[in-house]
Symmetry: C2
Subunit: 329 residues, 2 copies
DNA sequence: TTGAAAGCGCTACCAC
DNA sequence: GTGGTAGCGCTTTCAA
């Protein structure tokens, strides 16, 4: 069932059927009615592919992310998908697992499909800057990085001020009377580095000597956090506050500390990052940073849409996370 | 940069270029080499849209789900996406919010894009059976339901035996010495109904009188669970075991009970469903049912692929959830 | 082994 | 207002 069949049924030309379909140009009401009846009679659906052939777009965008199962990413994906689907776009989701090879594979296929735009979620994609030939594959496509930056003409950014956010936590804990803070650094990406930097800078601003020596490296997650707690204790360093780069790790740290008889928050304050659902489920409930993934997702969507539709793009503002104080501090 | 440009550069015809591109038919090695050089020189990318025009497929499928942010769904989406992207397909994700109108909108646009297949995640989509005109929109497209069933020629199912699973929990608790079980029913979809049925059947099989009177209705989530705990206590019914349809609600129930001085598991056993990450984070850690979303997603992907590629489709087997015993029982 | 040509189903232009 | 027609960039068939 194509446009020719409809034209035949309605006893007119495909041009006129096209006009009716797209509400473009004037059509004699009688003919319009005949066409609409034919459309309904055959339950006609125009081929988006044929349309795309002419218009050079299938009205679809793609989101690349390390892993949809990470709630923090899923929250952004949700917002972006809703925003674009409201505009008639479809959203393709790609799990790259953080592998540059996977990224390359996806870029190739997405470029062939002439996707209208791309959102890359996670600062891991900053690494792309070292692979110009991979970037070259999508040089025609506007790309927005969520909390990342790549210096390339078609790449745009929405940033989260992770450094400042962690500085805020440092101040909050020191102002609350804690004396000896330590930091658990649990991921290697640029965002994690920025957080770590925030910790070090925050301590420096408060004249704490040798802040670097107060950073512990751990594996991400519950187990990683528990191990980190052990290590901190074992190090012999005095501590009454533990800042973590991720909620899950922070929860592990709390578990580990409690197991060793520390009371939270009486003996030690613990903070996380991401304001995940888990932060409300652990005991005590976790003080954490809300880095506003919905806002971030919304701004990425907005920026990408403006770029695709060639409106002057929005001014680039960094998102400021907010401290959510709960019982762990 | 299209196939004509390449043909011109390589001094041959587009037919030959096409043969080289698709590795079909024999090509003189010399010409092949010229073509390959031209391909590389111009960094040529075939247009998937033009290809789709001829082949009637863009090699893409779509997943409809209530909400990607639900971890349980995200886990299935991940597996399905990986499976299909390995086969060169792209995966479009659609958040319907459980609204039939949204579903209709997505179906229309996906049908126009001639998507190759559809996975519907969540038993909420069982409701589609009441909307034949919506189903009609995708009558050409193979559809797989994850834990759902719709009686229509192009619809296929992979089921989870929720009823049996909850019966297992009932037996486990009774065998463990618990005497008075109650059930917290927190969602309205078919899967939730099946679980509730499992509870009632389970008690009947053990000759417990009036099992229906032991079912409490609650709102989903932490707050819902806490309220449910209050209600159970207020009802005056004796109880030493609470089964819940969802982990998050179960965690709320535990919180509520603990607040009223009940010890878990000493005074009351609590169980959830889904084996979510949260079940390992709450205290005590939650005994729950692992309903194997990865397996379910994998089987859906397999079934859909077989159907799309018209291989004899796999036998329909129901997935059996497994009890994960932790400290809450 | 190669190339010419006919489509795929649409949109957009132009002539009437 | 309307309809004919030229593409869009491929794949596939058929003849050479």
């Amino acid at each position: 069932m194509n446009i020719y069949d409809i034209a035949a049924e309605a006893n007119t030309s495909i041009s006129t059927v096209s006009r009716v379909l797209n509400n473009k140009g004037n059509v004699n009401p009688q003919i319009r009615k005949r066409v609409e009846e034919a459309l309904k009679k055959y339950d006609y659906k125009p081929s988006a592919i044929a349309r795309g052939m002419v218009s050079k777009t299938m009205k679809s965008i793609a989101i690349l992310t390390i892993d949809v199962r990470v709630t923090h990413y899923a929250r952004m994906i949700y917002v972006i998908e809703q925003e674009f689907s409201n505009q008639g776009y479809n959203v393709t989701v790609c799990n790259t697992g953080g592998s540059i090879g996977e990224c390359d594979r996806y870029f190739k296929i997405l470029a062939e499909k002439q996707i209208d735009g791309l959102v890359l979620i996670g600062s891991i994609f900053n690494n792309l800057i070292h692979y110009p030939q991979i970037i070259a594959q999508i040089k025609e496509i506007p790309v927005v990085l969520a909390n990342g930056h790549v210096d390339s003409p078609n790449f745009y950014s929405v940033l989260v001020d992770d450094t400042k956010a962690i500085r805020t936590v440092v101040d909050y804990l020191l102002d609350g009377g804690r004396k000896n803070l330590v930091y658990v650094f649990d991921l290697e990406n640029d965002s994690a580095q920025a957080k770590r930097r925030g910790f070090v800078e925050g301590l420096k601003l408060r004249d704490v000597p040798q802040p670097e020596s107060r950073v512990f490296t751990a594996a991400y997650g519950l187990e990683g956090g528990m191990k980190a707690a052990e290590e901190i204790i074992r190090s012999g360093i005095p501590f009454d506050g533990v800042l973590c780069g991720e909620d899950t790790t922070a929860i592990g740290v709390m578990k580990g500390l409690k197991k060793q008889g520390y009371r939270i928050p009486e003996d030690v304050a613990v903070t996380g990052c991401n304001n995940s659902p888990e932060a409300r489920i652990c005991e005590p409930e976790l003080t954490t940073l809300d880095n506003k993934p919905e806002l971030l997702g919304g701004m990425c969507a907005q920026l990408l849409r403006d770029t695709i539709e060639k409106k002057g793009s929005a001014v680039s503002v960094a998102i400021q996370p907010e401290l959510v104080v709960r019982q762990s501090t």
